[in-house]
C-alpha cells in the first residue's frame, strides 16, 4: 500500500504540473482527469475506498465531463492555444512561484514536525454514511441547500 501511495502521489503531482504547463486546453483537461484519478488511488491506499470511488465518479467522471462539454461548445481551437502560450512565458512565473515556494516550505515544516500516522485503518462505506447522517448531518443539509440554490438559478438562467 505504501508503494501504491507514493506512486500515485507522484503521478498526481506530475500531472497537476502538466495541467498548468499545457497550452492546449484539451490536453490540460486530460492531465487534470489523470490527476484526479491519481488522487482517488491515494485515497484508496490510505484506507478510504468509498471516498476514492466518489472522487472517481463525481470529480473525474461528472464534473470534468461538464468541463469538456463547455470546451466543446466554445470550440476554442488555435486562438486560445496561441494566447495560452503567450501567457505561459516570461515574468508571469515569478509571483506564483514565490507564493508556491512559501506554501511548500510551510508544508514541509508541518510534515517534519507532526507525528506521522503510519497505520492504515480502512473506513467502510457504512461508517462514512453513519458519520454523515449522524454528527455531520448539519453540514450535509447545508450542502444540499447550496446545491438546491444552484439548481434553481441554473433553471432560471436556462429559461431566459
Amino acid at each position: 500500500m505504501t508503494v501504491l501511495f507514493y506512486l500515485s502521489a507522484i503521478i498526481a503531482v506530475i500531472s497537476t504540473v502538466a495541467v498548468i504547463l499545457q497550452s492546449n486546453i484539451v490536453h490540460a483537461l486530460i492531465y487534470l482527469i489523470l490527476s484526479l484519478l491519481a488522487v482517488a488511488v491515494v485515497f484508496y491506499s490510505v484506507g478510504a475506498p468509498f471516498a476514492a470511488m466518489l472522487e472517481a465518479i463525481v470529480y473525474a467522471g461528472a464534473i470534468m465531463v461538464l468541463f469538456l462539454f463547455v470546451i466543446m461548445m466554445l470550440n476554442l481551437g488555435q486562438r486560445s492555444h496561441a494566447q495560452e502560450q503567450e501567457w505561459l512565458s516570461g515574468k508571469i512565473w515569478i509571483g506564483p512561484s514565490v507564493m508556491a515556494a512559501i506554501l511548500l516550505v510551510q508544508l514541509l515544516s508541518v510534515v517534519t514536525t507532526e507525528q506521522a500516522v503510519t497505520e492504515v485503518v480502512e473506513v467502510g462505506v457504512q461508517e462514512v454514511g453513519l458519520m454523515l447522517f449522524g454528527p455531520y448531518v448539519l453540514a450535509v443539509e447545508i450542502a444540499s441547500l447550496l446545491l438546491l440554490a444552484g439548481l434553481v438559478s441554473a433553471y432560471h438562467l436556462a429559461k431566459k
Binding site: 470511488m53 465518479i57 467522471g61 466543446m72
Partner: protein
Amino acid sequence: MTWEVGSALNIAAILILVVVIAAMLIWVERRLLGLWQERLGPNRVGWFGLMQVVADMVKIFTKEDWVPPFSDKFSFVLAPNIIMIVVLMSFSVIPFAPGVGVSDSNVGVLFILAMASLGAYSVMLAGLSSNNKYSLLGALRAAAQMVSYEVFMGISLLGVVALTGSFSLRDVVLAQADGWYVIPQFVGFVIFLIAGIAESHRVPFDIPEAEQEIVAGYHTEYSGMKFGMFFVGEYLGLVLVSSLITVFFFGGWMGPAFLPGIVWFVIKAFVFIAFFILLRAALPRPRYDQLMSYGWLFLLPLSLLNLLITAAVILMGS
C-alpha cells in the same frame, strides 16, 4: 497455479474469453438479425459463416490506419483506447461463478459506475479531436446522453444495494439465494435495462452515431484498428451490461444444480444479449429531445420513487 479469485490464470482466462466473445458477437448479431428479418446473414466463410469474424479481423488489422492531419493527434489516438480499457476494467469486479472473477472489491458497484462515467471521455475526445462537424455533433449528443443516463443507472442500482446491504457484487449474488431481485426490484430492473442500452449506445439509443443524420457520429474520421476498437468496445459494453443485469437482478451464477454455475451465468447473459439484438431489429430511433426529456422527466422521478419505497419497506421490516 491455483484457480481462485484473482489468480493470474483466472485473470488471463476472463480477459481472453471476454474479448473473443465480444468479437464473436459481431457474427452472432448479423446472423440473428438475418434470422429475424427473414434472410440468411453471413453464411459463406467456414461453418455457418463462423469464420466471418476472422476474415473481418484480418481485414481490419491490415487496413490503413489513417490519422487525419487536421486532428488533435494525442486525443485522437487516446480516445479508442479509453473505451477498451474502461470496459475491460469493469469486468474485473464481476463475479462469474464461485471462485471465478478478478477481484471481489467491497466497492464493486461504485467501481462499475466510476468506469461507466469515465467511458464518456472516449466518445467526447473522439468527437472533439476529429475536428469535424459531424463528429462534434455526435460527441455532444453522446456526452449529454451518457451523463444523463448514468444518473438513473446509479439510482436504479441503489435499491439492490439497499436490499443486499453491501456494494460487493459477490454479496449481491449470494443475497439472491432465496429469490432473484427482479421480483422486488422490477422497476429498478427496467430502468437499469434502459439506462444500460443508453450507456452502450445501441439502437434505439444510438443517437450519437445515427448514420442517417450525422454520418457515423463521433467515429466518422476513424479507420482501421482504431475504428475496430470502438466497434469491439461497443460489443464489450453489450456483454458488460448483460452480465451486470444477470448479476444484479437474475441471481448471477445461481441455478438448478445439474449445470455448473458458470454455464448458468453464460446462458442468462446470452439471453439478454439476444434481447438487445432483437431490440435493434424491432425499434426505431427516438428524436434527441425525446430521449432527454424521457430520461429526466420520467425515469428520474420513477427511480427516486423506487428507491424511496424500497428504503421504506426495508425500514418497516427491520
